[in-house]
Point group: C2
Chain length 197, copies 2
Amino acid sequence: MMSSRIIDTRTRILDATIHMLEAHAGRGVRMSDIAGESGISRQAVYLHFASRSDLLVAATKYLDEKLDVDGRLAPSRAATSGVERLTLYIEFWGNYIPEIYGVAKALLLAQDSDEAAAVAWQGRMAAMRDGCRAAIEALDGDDTLASGWTPKTATDALWTLLLVPNWEALTVECGWSTKQYVDEIKAIARRSFVNAA
Amino acid sequence: MMSSRIIDTRTRILDATIHMLEAHAGRGVRMSDIAGESGISRQAVYLHFASRSDLLVAATKYLDEKLDVDGRLAPSRAATSGVERLTLYIEFWGNYIPEIYGVAKALLLAQDSDEAAAVAWQGRMAAMRDGCRAAIEALDGDDTLASGWTPKTATDALWTLLLVPNWEALTVECGWSTKQYVDEIKAIARRSFVNAA
DNA sequence: CCAGTAACTTGACACAGTGTCAATTGACAC
DNA sequence: GTGTCAATTGACACTGTGTCAAGTTACTGG
């Protein structure tokens, strides 16, 4: 079979990409580094991915599948109240970020030179926003959305709160554990978005 | 006097840098673009700044002076209560970000290739953190710091809340006005950090 | 077993951007 | 007028991305 070897190499490149980005926090990883880690020549990478950003985008998609993003989202989707949904969504995302951090950071930094990377990152963040919207709308449906918010503005604010740079600041810079991060963000979100009533 | 022309050119480069970065949101601005905008040759820029990151760092310092960052900080420093200090600091910083956004973003993106840029940005953010700490300590001194926080964790959280990417998300991506941003961040901060008592 | 095909290798090169160097020009100061 | 220093010009080294062409290896199907 011809495709098995193709897929194999492709997968090896993706695994190597993720490994390198994870190890170097997404900074300063070159195509030649990834090729070396994959055990193939630099040029051969281009037989599978058109460009660096193409590879980065594919790596994020691959990671989402590998980490079973849909499976992990199931608990929050099954929540029976708005508050529960909000809590479980933060729980999911807060524990997910550390696993995608390297790739996310690389995509974030590639925005400088590369328009395609910027678009791809925005797309990935739009998906995360859907989860935020669902949680806020669940709150709104329960009449437990704190006063002063519209569903749109509350979604904006929750989405922003959960952005990767915030996780980065609190854990990498301030030395918080992921558990601390999750707990505090939950507390801030509850105080900000959930009506006391 | 010989130094007047030197300073003049240096200043022209800094103004051109800020102008270009502002106009292009900090993305894809090259040394040759800055030189062109300054009306000098690309190589001449290196007579005044050792490297691109050196120029970016100098531009942020120059901007801080030009925008009179100390003068703008005076109101929050003169606050007579912790709550007032918190509010006025958010007011200051929230209105300051849009003016430094281009340069800030460029420095942020330069982190990829450049270690010096990363260090410089962290230094600038450390300065912003001092303002956060002062506000939190003022709250703590008034016994109005919300329960569940230590001064350290509250400073971490407030500092993170005020980071540039959050302003970027809410204004650039979500379409909020700066006034909206300032008001909502104030509300979130008050609900999160100020004791109801 | 042999022919063909597809992945991969190697070496070369184009291109963009940063940073350096040397020789030259031009202005201003003493 | 002569020296000094900013700035110019042209050339070049270096890094990283992306492309191309020619050759090699390995598997596949007749």
